[in-house]
Symmetry: C2
Subunit: 313 residues, 2 copies
């Protein structure tokens, strides 16, 4: 198994590159046109034992997630993907057919979102599988939506349904099989009637990611438990753990949905591109803790600030 052969397989399969690719893979650097005059960039890793488990996930799911996890960040800015590069460190027992399955999944997923692979680096080592994907994007006519910019009184919205992303329900495992909300984000941010003040994608769980939005704008947030859109995964997880389903909706990570705020006087559609949009709460002026509070049906308030999901030692 040689690095060069592996990369050539990837590049050969990359038959018809978009015209925006000015230097195709195989040189010291790839290049793409950046007509907007501004380029956005994000990097994420998918590591065996941290973000995926090869004992239960297929190589196709792992390759797909390595791309979609990054595309969710692109969606969070309402940007348009341009190109991706992949760095892979492969365990020694990964034979060529398995590597090709993995890279085919990455290439096909990236291609499906108009985000061609334009470069890569492969190492073979004694460690576990790790895929690092960097994605370039451009504004393409829509000013990127930042994490900051929320105003007191803003309504808080989420797309889709939350929680239980690790659960498998009817063969669907959200953290592997989710669709990044690229088209929805472009529609939302490109229309002055619905453009968010601030937006983030939900990767660390609603509690933590909403805290990021609060922090970026110097505000607090109150979420109504009854309004939280619960995924089937959240309901299944709640049955398994005995915890309330809202706990999974606010604390579980890897929803890869969009969390955004907008003026409360805007008419937000109930869904865009077939994905539900749900108002879950309100941004409040800075003041007494909690920074992120959850109002339960009995009127009591739960401090969500300590919750949320993070890799840590």
């Amino acid at each position: 198994m040689r690095e060069l052969d592996l990369l050539q397989h990837v590049y050969a399969a990359n038959a018809s590159l978009p015209t925006g690719v000015t230097i195709p893979p195989g040189d010291d650097m790839g290049a793409v046109r950046a007509p907007s005059g501004q380029v956005l960039i994000t990097v994420d890793q998918v590591a065996q034992g941290v973000h995926v488990d090869l004992a239960t996930a297929s190589l196709e799911q792992v390759g797909r997630k390595a791309i979609t996890r990054n595309l969710s960040d692109v969606a969070a800015m309402a940007a348009q993907p341009m190109a991706a590069v992949v760095a892979a460190s492969l365990p020694r027992d990964f034979d060529t057919p398995r590597v090709n399955r993995l890279f085919d999944a990455m290439r096909q997923t990236a291609g499906a979102f108009a985000c061609p692979l334009v470069g890569g680096d492969i190492s073979i080592w004694d460690g576990p599988l790790i895929l690092t994907v960097t994605i370039l994007a451009e504004p393409a006519g829509i000013e990127p939506v930042r994490r900051s910019g929320s105003q007191a009184g803003d309504a808080i919205y989420v797309t889709g349904a939350l929680g239980g992303s690790l659960e498998t329900v009817d063969g669907y495992t959200h953290h592997l099989d989710f669709t990044p909300r690229l088209a929805l984000a472009r529609r939302l941010a490109g229309d002055p009637a619905t453009r968010p003040h601030a937006m983030i994608d939900l990767s660390d769980g609603l509690a933590r990611d909403l805290a990021h939005l609060c922090d970026a704008s110097g505000l607090r947030a109150e979420v109504l438990a009854q309004q939280l859109p619960l995924s089937r995964g959240a309901l299944q997880a709640a049955q398994r753990t005995g915890q309330p389903a809202w706990r999974h909706a606010v604390g579980d990570g890897e929803d890869y949905e969009l969390l955004f705020t907008a003026s409360p006087d805007r008419e937000m559609p109930a869904s865009i591109e077939g994905v539900p949009i749900t108002r879950i709460g309100t941004m409040l002026p800075a003041g007494e803790p909690p920074m992120v509070g959850l109002r339960l049906p009995d009127g009591s308030m739960v401090d969500l600030t300590p919750l949320g999901w993070e890799h840590r030692a």
Copy 2:
């Protein structure tokens, strides 16, 4: 040790970002201006046990190499760095002070080459240390130099001296401490009198990288052993291994020098920016093997095609 705290340390230290950074680190994506309308991208990994050994290299050297290894690819295109993003997977025994030393070294090295860190991703896992760096660059007035474009009859040149990059000579270990040839490449490619037809950086060893140049232009190459600029590391390695020094100069990897071809009637300066430039051979029309041949002082020819350094299983 929390990911967020670690990243915030990096970003806080990143005090004065260049004005080209339009979205600073800490959002879902970073962004930079791309006034050239074209953006170049490359990714490389530095993994414990493959590219570095923490038993002998300092954290400062490891952090530095993670950046310079990529900048060498930027030099190979004669491009100008714009911004970098870093993904790190850290072993659980990496405490915060060590992580900060590592990231400080990356940030300072990147900053020294006007290539600010604009984003990152940190995971903590059970595997060895791995740093994946993606660098963005722009042409900035100089058309990127590709691997293809050599013509039969072109003179072949290298910068610096070759071989023995793993050796430590008087406290200098080339594969860790080298300087990427960014300024030299810009000077070379920006001047019509010296602009290379094709260029690559020497990461896999002269034999293999010259084969890449031959392959990209459908040519052969002949190198004169007597002309090879031997590094002190190559001489030390030769003493240790008993092999001829030229064997180290053509076969050892990680020189991170530039290899380029240009019309033989051009007056190439003996050095640029204080770095020697040496003519080592000639590009030849396609024909009988070897694709890459080395002429020894006794007139005999060695086929270099099977040589060269590559990570493999």
